[in-house]
């Protein structure tokens, strides 16, 4: 046996056997439960939105209708939410998918990094990725943000293969510096990073906004939001909240087919 094969044998032998079959099974069950919960939430929210659309168009039913906006608060949502969704600086246009993806409260230890909703919205000039969190902070002043212990990112899967094709990320640069917000294409790495802005929504969460030229018009994609947070600066016990779940994706959104690109 030569050196190469000896090194391979040594490496493989140094690995442990890992989880038992039962533990693999339990992990799969947990994953399945998360997926089912996500689907239930999406279906319920879609149903609520459909009721709202019908009501807003003056549905001629004999029964009274309750108008429910897809981005309205937990009082009209079928599932509880501790925070209201992000207020919008500009009204999303119809069909651009401002439907929030809900995430359970308390699935990470730090409320500052506990995402409750993630959403995409677009108007004639910009599009935004937003999250609401249980206890939002101000990235401009909070030490965790200044020191890189808070990182917010969104992955986009544009071809439904479960691998991100685009990535938007907010990384604050330190005290008195604006956060650096970038959007990159993995499908075409030669496309330069598109730069955007981070907005803090007091009492709600955060939003990354980019000009419409940063994404192709009419692009259908699934969304995955992730926030890393660690309140103890200088340590590495970061908690990560992923929405709708680990390696899970939202129902599809679609960018406007022909937005302004200025």
């Amino acid at each position: 046996m030569n050196r190469f094969h000896a090194a391979v044998s040594e490496l493989v032998a140094s690995m442990d056997d890992g989880p038992t079959v039962q533990e693999v099974h339990r992990r799969g069950q947990r994953r399945q439960r998360r997926r089912i919960l996500t689907r239930v939430v999406v279906v319920c929210v879609a149903a609520a939105a459909a009721v709202g659309v019908a009501a807003s168009y003056g549905h001629s039913s004999a029964e009274p209708q309750i108008a429910v906006s897809p981005t309205t608060s937990s009082t009209t949502s079928p599932l509880p939410s501790t925070t209201s969704p992000l207020p919008s600086t500009t009204s999303p246009l119809p069909g651009t998918g401002s439907m929030p993806v809900h995430d359970s409260v308390g699935d990470v230890p730090y409320p500052q990094g506990d995402i409750t909703d993630a959403s995409f919205s677009q108007d004639a000039t910009n599009f935004s990725f937003g999250v609401t969190v249980v206890q939002p902070l101000d990235p401009a002043t909070d030490p965790a943000w200044h020191n890189g212990n808070a990182v917010l990112g969104f992955s986009l899967d544009a071809n439904n293969d479960g691998v991100e094709d685009w990535y938007a990320l907010a990384l604050p640069q330190g005290p008195n510096q604006a956060a650096k917000v970038g959007l990159r294409s993995w499908a075409n790495p030669h496309v330069p990073t598109c730069w955007g802005t981070l907005a803090s929504i007091p009492g709600a969460g955060y939003r990354l906004t980019f000009p419409n030229r940063c994404l192709p018009g009419g692009m259908r994609f699934r969304l995955h939001a992730q926030m890393d947070f660690n309140p103890k600066v200088g340590t590495y016990k970061t908690a990560t909240d992923q929405v709708p779940g680990v390696n899970a994706w939202s129902e599809p959104f679609t960018t406007l087919a022909d937005p302004l690109t200025t």
Binding site: N2, R3, F4, H5, A7, V8, L11, V12, A13, S14, M15, D16, D17, G18, P19, V21, V24, H25, R27, G28, R31, Q32, G148, V151, G153, S155, G162, V163, E164, Y167, L169, L171, Q173, K180, G182, R184, W186, Q226, V246, N247
Partner: protein, 161 residues
């Protein structure tokens, strides 16, 4: 694949090679183990379908490599956008040793093919499936990789495809 094969029969021992393969590819023990465990969980969930495939290994490796690649991509952009995130421990690749340094020096495609063939012990068909290329491309890539390694490690045999 033999009909009626149970996951419990197929799984034991396979994790070692999968984690080792991912470790050589990404250099991060924690990520390699996490991606492998997630891939096995998905394999078990889809076992009725996966066990009917000619080789469940190819499917499992593809899932694991995709998971690891996704995390690596995210880390790469984090490092690029904010270099201060990189700590000393982030840049020490594993496993250590001259042989693995040489493997890591190969172009990405050659390195992936070598790892899947010799560490993962996958057949060329499965490697083609994992890498999303044809079997002929795998054979040619492996031949080039073996030549590249043999010029440095004179005890590696150069096999023609």
């Amino acid at each position: 694949m033999a009909a009626g094969l149970e996951f419990a029969q197929w799984y034991p021992g396979r994790r070692r090679r999968l984690v080792a393969s991912l470790l050589v590819m990404c250099g991060d023990r924690e990520l390699a183990a996490e991606a492998a465990d997630e891939a096995f969980a998905r394999t078990l969930q889809a076992w009725n379908r996966v066990s009917a495939m000619q080789s469940p290994d190819g499917w499992t490796y593809r899932v694991a490599v995709n998971i690891a690649r996704r995390v690596e991509r995210r880390r790469a952009i984090e490092r690029r956008l904010w270099p201060r995130l990189v700590s000393a421990s982030d840049v020490v690749p594993a496993p250590a040793g001259e042989v693995w340094d040489l493997v890591r020096s190969l172009p990405t495609r050659q390195r992936t093919a070598v790892v899947l063939r010799y560490v993962g012990d996958l057949r060329e068909d499965d490697i083609a499936s994992v890498m999303g290329v044809t079997r002929g491309t795998v054979a040619a890539t492996l031949a080039n990789a073996r030549r590249a390694l043999a010029t440095i490690l004179d005890d590696i045999e150069v096999e023609e495809p």
